[in-house]
């Protein structure tokens, strides 16, 4: 990407309103990008000299490029669901300039070679791809992978996403090695010993539908265990993926408090702060994901935690699946929904307009927040010298999401036909415009 000849040497973003929470800026600013970096950030009309290209950002919000901590691009091995090329095209359309890919592919990304393969320009990624590698070999939960080699190859974290690390000893060892290397351990918190055969959240709706339910405790018990382990290990870094329950939030709050030297962080998805178990309706498999849509009470708790700062990041858990994997009996359908192209719109519509959470906080959840979780030097803020990754959006634009127009290879979304307020207008990666709305 860095060698792309079509990239203009300089791009001036003029007339926009900059929200850069890390730099504590919420004001009209012009921004000059040059040679892939942020060259200048100045009040309107203060930047002198020319630029090869100009972007008229009047009436628009300019923000640091969004970072998604949790996407499934399905390569290697599952390119009938998604590829790095199609998934990053969807990411760009959703305003994401960096995505962190999950290793539960075929084969599992558990070696330095696969990490390097994912990052290779031949994959055709149009945004930055940061692989998260498997924490254990083949994600079987038995033997740790070579964290040092994986990190050297470019892995930003380790996880067995989709399969939690259940054994205390293995989780402790992962956190310990992670602490030495400053590498976060990401946990998909689910006690799979008690969720076998479950396809949604346990509650009145699962009972009515005759579906086995995953209890909230199956998530919370693992988060509690992990927080306890992390607090016993200096400098350990635990990141709770796609948190979905009120009780798990309590454990995270406990992990963030206190005089421990562990860093506990968490992310939530747009579907979990928007939808609840009742929305499954009559077995709609586009509402089946793991963790499942939870109770209204859980959703309320997440909304509070989004506003009060407990939650570090909004992550999509973009999980594409082919039609034949979704158009089956609910209990047999694959878990997961796509989410890259709708995340910002849902956040603005649901969190800003309905819940009155300030735009600055929403931008933080997409930028400075995730940048802190995995330590992305030079990203998450548009300070001078940082990477020229920029997301420009119109917070007032009304639009309707049509799955047929999605850039993702798969169309499994619960948000088909939803009307949103707030739309990405342009996405800039390394100073180059990789997406521009029609």
């Amino acid at each position: 990407m860095a060698n792309d000849k079509s990239k203009p040497a300089s791009l001036l973003i003029k007339g926009g309103h900059l929200i850069d929470p890390a730099a504590k800026i919420n004001a009209p600013m012009d921004i000059l990008l040059r040679d892939g970096r942020v060259a200048e950030v100045e009040p309107p009309n203060k930047i002198r000299g020319g630029a090869d290209e100009r972007f008229d950002a009047r009436g628009l919000i300019v923000a640091p490029g969004f970072i998604d901590l949790h996407v499934h691009l399905r390569e290697p091995g599952q390119n009938y669901k998604e590829t790095v090329a199609t998934g990053t095209a969807a990411a760009a359309a959703g305003g994401f300039t960096s995505v962190c890919t999950m290793p539960n592919t075929a084969p599992v990304v558990d070696s330095a070679d696969w990490v390097a393969w994912l990052r290779h320009p031949e994959r055709g990624g149009v945004v930055n791809v940061f692989p998260i590698a498997a924490a254990t070999r083949s994600s079987r939960g038995a033997a740790l992978t070579d964290f040092i080699a994986l990190q050297r190859a470019g892995a930003v974290a380790v996880t067995d996403d989709g399969k939690p690390i259940l054994e205390d000893d293995i989780m402790r060892a992962a956190l310990k090695l992670g602490a030495e290397l400053n590498l976060p351990v990401v946990q998909h918190a689910e006690d799979t010993r008690v969720t076998e055969g479950c396809s949604m959240h346990e509650g009145p709706t699962s009972f009515r539908l005759g579906l086995r339910g995953m209890t909230a405790a199956a998530e919370a018990s693992i988060v509690e265990r992990d927080v306890n382990l992390a607090q016993q290990i200096r400098e350990s870094r635990l990141h709770v993926a796609h948190l979905s329950t009120s009780d798990a939030l309590k454990a995270v709050r406990r992990g963030k408090r206190g005089n421990h030297h562990a860093r506990v962080t968490c992310e939530v998805t747009p579907h979990h702060f928007t939808l609840i178990d009742e929305n499954v309706g009559e077995y709609d498999t586009n509402f089946k994901m793991n963790p499942p849509l939870r109770s209204a009470t859980d959703r309320e708790a997440i909304l509070v935690a989004l506003a009060d700062g407990t939650i570090d990041a909004i992550a999509t858990d973009h999980a594409p699946h082919a039609t034949h994997e979704k158009e089956v009996e609910f209990e047999r359908a694959a878990f997961g929904v796509i989410g890259l192209e709708t995340a910002l719109a849902i956040a603005i519509t649901k969190l800003h307009r309905e819940q009155k959470i300030p735009l600055t906080r929403i931008v933080e959840l997409f930028t400075a927040g995730p940048a802190r979780v995995f330590d992305f030097p030079g990203r998450g803020s548009l300070a001078r010298g940082n990477f020229a990754d920029v997301t420009i959006f119109d917070p007032k634009k009304r639009w309707t999401f049509e799955t047929a127009k999605s850039r993702s290879l798969s169309h499994n979304t619960p948000f088909e036909g939803w009307q949103f307020t707030g739309k990405v207008v342009a996405t800039i990666v390394g100073g180059k415009i990789v997406y521009r709305a029609d």
Partner: protein, 303 residues
């Protein structure tokens, strides 16, 4: 996606009050010994992904006695074994000329899924833990044979409600017909949130309380094959919830004892209760035929 075809029977919630009353009236008019040939030249596919004795045979006898042709497709010995999807199996049965499909499936919601994609009526003969509407209807039919009306009656449903599609459909239907429904069993088998299923439901953990004042007692088998991690000590269960002649005395004197079957004698109820004067268990099976005749006649617009 489309709406299910007219005449489909997917769950009790999919029926309005008029349809329920109509089906029960129609069942009463059906005479399995002198059936009218209402389904002559009709082809009915019986698509059974799960084992069944009562439901399958009574649907088949109901269909054939009214003149329909039936074809039985089971998961073994068909292309289902080769990995054909449920939807494709449905399309195939439609293409060979089925006028209606009766389906039993281990996955909740499976009948609704194919009903939305086919233009012929789909009849749910039991889907996972979700629903068994024809059983609920035949149970209501049975109750009405023994009681004057449903209004004000109290039914105690005792046992493994969590895993029971029969219980779910019974709750919906009997509550809708104006009965008070008491669910009874341990929390593992009768979760607190079960009360939200329908109006006029309540839960008790004590069988004595459930029985007191009840007109109808419906017993359910503990579905040990479906327990999946839930731990039930059968000895404890039997001590607390087994239906015995002594306990039966707590109910109203003219109370009837029902069980959708299969029954496990000596577990959820004693042999004395099964074979006792208040038991209508065999009657239920018997009533399966006219009830399913009514369901099929309605499905194919002949009623």
């Amino acid at each position: 996606m489309n709406k299910p075809a007219r005449g489909s029977l997917l769950s009790i919630e999919h029926l309005d009050d008029k349809e329920i009353v109509g089906l029960l009236k129609l069942a009463r008019r059906m005479n399995p010994l002198k059936p009218r040939p209402l389904l002559r030249n009709k082809r009915i596919a019986l698509l059974f992904y799960e084992a069944s004795t009562r439901t399958r045979s009574s649907f088949e006898i109901a269909a054939k006695s009214m003149g329909a042709m039936t074809t039985l497709v089971t998961s073994s010995g068909s292309s289902i074994e080769k990995g054909e999807s449920l939807l494709d199996t449905g399309y195939t049965l439609r293409a060979v000329g089925a006028d209606a499909i009766v389906i039993r499936h281990p996955a909740a919601g499976a009948p609704l899924m194919i009903a939305k994609r086919l233009d012929i009526p789909v009849i749910n003969a039991g889907d996972g833990m979700h629903a068994h509407p024809s059983q609920a209807l035949l149970d209501a039919f049975t109750i009405l044979k023994h009681k004057k009306s449903f209004k004000g009656l109290q039914v105690a449903i005792i046992g493994d409600i969590y895993h029971s599609r029969v219980a779910r459909s019974a709750c919906h239907l009997l509550s809708r017909l104006g009965m008070k429904v008491i669910l009874c069993g341990p929390p593992e088998l009768v979760p607190e949130f079960a009360v939200s299923l329908a109006p006029r439901l309540r839960i008790t953990r004590h069988i004595e309380e459930a029985l007191r004042g009840s007109d109808v007692i419906m017993l359910l088998r503990v579905q040990q094959e479906r327990l999946a991690g839930k731990k039930i000590h059968l000895q404890d269960y039997m001590a607390r919830y087994q239906m015995t002649m002594a306990r039966l005395k707590l109910a109203k004197r003219d109370a009837i004892v029902m069980h959708p079957g299969p029954i496990i004698r000596g577990l959820e109820l004693t042999s004395e209760v099964v074979d006792g004067p208040q038991s209508v268990i065999v009657d239920e099976v018997h009533n399966g035929v006219p009830t399913r005749m009514a369901i099929l006649a309605r499905a194919l617009g002949k009623a």
